[in-house]
């Protein structure tokens, strides 16, 4: 007998997502993930002057604003055949990477971690560390007043929960520290971007100002602080969680979904002429090449979406359950994001850990990939910063190019590997105005609904086969798996 159950709040951190599950004897057999927010950016961006498009595109998502800004800028630069100067490429890389640092730390410490920690154990801490004792006192008051914001306590304890008092208190302490580190990473963005959130300096053709020595010195001192947190606290925390309490479920590939991954090359270093993340696709576990014009073959299926076609909404549509469209390449759904990027890159640390502990893709590996990716990016940021320093010392350094305005292409696309996945903006221009705008956000891939062939989206698929106990609240495991995708309803529906 199948039972249908609706959960009105799925993620602790995104209020606009609801989930309908179909259960057969306690096992999930079907899932409908609904993203219930829609602003209509494709409509808003149409008919606008091309130079102000990046400003508006940035407002698609406040969390990974730079990814939409850069995808829009790149689309327009492609249309105008502009070759972006090296200084601008490097400064932009540094700004985009700062957002990665914030986003990845937030996903682990603020979104995912509370589901793996038994907060009550903090009270049993018996050590003598002064800072931890202050925190213990604070948590005690939080629990007494039944208000644990900004952390959370879980309603049930299972084998995946960290239960040892001194570990628990250290993790809560790190979660607090992580807020401070994100704040510093935001300042790094401000140095080059003008303000955080929503950078101002990324404009069509390059950046609006040449970074000076002072910016770079300050940037480096902030980066030192963030880098030591990422390498000495964040990465070890994630690795010990995944290889500790989550080892069994990661070896069993819980939350795997389809083994289809996609990544489009990004983070170019013009000095070394190489991309940090190369292009590629993996279909059912097999790595393949991804052509540069692959976006011509992406179909956005609208069978289960309120969006009938581009810019057309029908809220009464039968069968529709979400505002998100279902992007399909070669007719298949693809997972994008940190796991996809590192599997396609064949990142050596991830490969090593996977072989050594026979790990399979799943929610544990997603967290692991996100942490290793952050380490990779931090290291690369030092290299970009050094190259940038060399470039700005030259007097004739150019920061912006706009001269080729006459060779206007009518159709163009811009890409970015954003923290939550592959972002694609496609534009159609006529006479310096936008005729048609199309956005595929990073989360559009992962949070996509079913398509006309009945293929589910990656996040929906990852829940199938999961056994649940009879729980009243949103099941803990469902939340854990969905959090590992870093789903964002704003990016996905725009």
């Amino acid at each position: 007998m199948t039972v249908r159950r609706l959960f009105k709040s799925v993620s602790r951190t995104d209020n606009h997502i609801t989930l309908l599950l179909e259960l057969k004897e306690g096992t999930i057999v079907d899932a409908n993930l609904s993203l219930l927010i829609f602003r209509g950016f494709e409509d808003i961006l149409a008919d606008r002057n091309i130079y102000e498009i990046p400003y508006f595109a940035s407002r698609i998502c406040g969390k990974c604003f730079s990814s939409h800004q850069i995808a829009a800028v790149r689309a327009i630069e492609n249309a105008l055949s502009i070759e972006v100067p090296y200084i601008a490429i490097l400064a932009r890389n540094l700004m985009l990477a700062s957002v990665f640092l914030i986003n990845n730390l937030r996903n682990f410490y603020q979104n995912a971690l509370p589901d793996f920690v038994n907060l009550r154990r903090v009270l049993e801490y018996s050590g003598s560390d002064e800072e931890l004792l202050i925190l213990k006192d604070r948590v005690k008051k939080m629990l007494e007043s039944k208000d644990t914001s900004p952390f959370a306590s879980i309603e049930q304890v299972d084998e995946m929960v960290i239960d040892y008092p001194s570990d628990v208190i250290q993790l809560v302490f790190n979660s607090k520290k992580a807020i401070k580190i994100q704040n510093i990473a935001g300042k790094m963005g401000t140095l080059l971007g003008g303000k955080y959130p929503h950078y101002q300096s990324i404009i069509v053709g390059g950046v609006s100002r040449k970074p000076n020595l002072e910016d770079i010195v300050k940037f480096k001192s902030f980066l030192d602080e963030v880098s030591s947190f990422v390498k000495e606290v964040y990465a070890p925390d994630v690795i010990s969680l995944v290889l500790g309490p989550l080892l069994e479920s990661t070896q069993n590939g819980i939350g795997m979904g389809f083994e289809n991954y996609l990544c489009y090359k990004d983070f170019f270093n013009p000095i070394e002429n190489k991309y940090l993340f190369p292009s590629g696709i993996i279909i059912s576990g097999k790595l393949d090449i991804l052509e540069d014009n692959f976006f011509d073959n992406i179909i956005e299926d609208s069978s289960y979406s309120f969006q009938k076609d581009l810019n057309e909404i029908n809220l009464k549509k039968a069968n529709a359950y979400t505002f998100c469209l279902a992007p399909r390449y070669k007719g298949l759904p693809f997972e994008t994001g940190p796991l996809a990027r590192l599997l396609i890159l064949k990142e050596k640390n991830l490969t090593k850990l996977m072989n050594q502990y026979s790990l399979k893709p799943g929610f544990g590996l997603r967290h692991l990939a996100r942490a290793l990716e952050t380490v990779l990016i931090v290291d690369e940021m030092y290299a970009w910063l050094e190259d940038l320093l060399n470039l700005i010392s030259k007097e004739e350094a150019v920061v912006i190019r706009r001269e080729k305005e006459n060779n206007l292409k009518e159709l163009a696309a811009g890409f970015h590997e954003s923290p939550c996945g592959t972002t694609i903006h496609t534009i159609e221009i006529s006479r310096n105005f936008i005729k048609n705008y199309r956005v595929i956000g990073g989360s559009t891939w992962n949070a996509s609904p079913k398509d006309s062939r009945g293929l589910r989206g990656p996040a929906e698929e990852s829940l199938i086969g999961l056994r649940l106990k009879n729980e009243k609240q949103t099941p803990l495991m469902v939340r854990r798996i969905l959090n590992s995708f870093d789903l964002c309803s704003k990016c996905a529906t725009h």
Binding site: F38, I102, P114
Partner: protein, 338 residues
Amino acid sequence: MIASLFSRRDFLKILAYGAALLGIRGGVQGFIDKVFAEDSKRPTLVWLSALSCGGCTESFFAIEEPDASELLFNVISLRYNRLTPEDYSNKDFSAISDEDSYLLFVEGSFPQTDEGFCLINGEPAEKLLKDLLQRAEHTVAVGSCASFGGIPSLGPARAASVSDIVKNKNVINLPTCPVHPDHLILIIMHLLYFGYAPELDDYQRPKMFFKNLIHDSCERRTHFENQRFLKDFNDPSQSDYCLYLVGCKGRQTNSDCSKRKWNGNLSWCVDCGAGCNGCAEKNFYTRFSPLFETQDKASELSEDVLKFGAGAVAGASSVWAANKIKERLQKRENSREV
């Protein structure tokens, strides 16, 4: 008592910050007794996020002083925000019981064509707003969307601002896109300590932040007076010139960004060379469009400027005012060339 909650350094920071900016002198101890008293619950701050990008939530994490992590753990209890995971037992908004007092912060605007455009935990956003408003001590509309409708008002939802929906309630508007982190923390401190709203202007913006034009205290003001305008981003000698000709709207925008800068005084829109887009003003995205071009351009100010801009038409309402300025500028330009 306080020492157990804060490190000495953070404590001093809060003292200095609160006292200097809110004009509290003898009242500092009172502020601390009220806000940080050991036995009392932390004041609750309910955050409602409707049609928005969520950038104002990011601004919360960008709060500098007191440091956001201390603020969130020790000073206030931020609820229903996507940064602060909820206990599932309290997840529903109805859990805020009748006797609870709280400050309501609203981010984003509210759909008017169909409530289906924005559901929060499966409920229409506007219904939740009306429920929460009834018991809120103060209501703050955070960011341009909540204050004036913002970019979502251009979309199919035709979204409306908080004060459009509740006309009989005093709403404090904190525009700018996203909200300035300093404005956010200062308004929180003001409301918690004084218990009443600060003095507001015609757009319900606190006068303490939005009294003066950005242009009044702009660091590039001298260049404007001396008609030194940036025309080429690549020319190092022009790099700190006035950005008026590349679309800066600081002359029409009321905010204290030019004094306060952003994110711990590090930089701001003019400092990074892009110019102000006027995000503190109502409907800036249509009124000031095209954002990165001067609105004077309608009648050929200079050829250099045209090289950087595409042939766009300025909004009709602003053309008249812009023409006046343009005439003056052109006179100066001509006299300089001669």
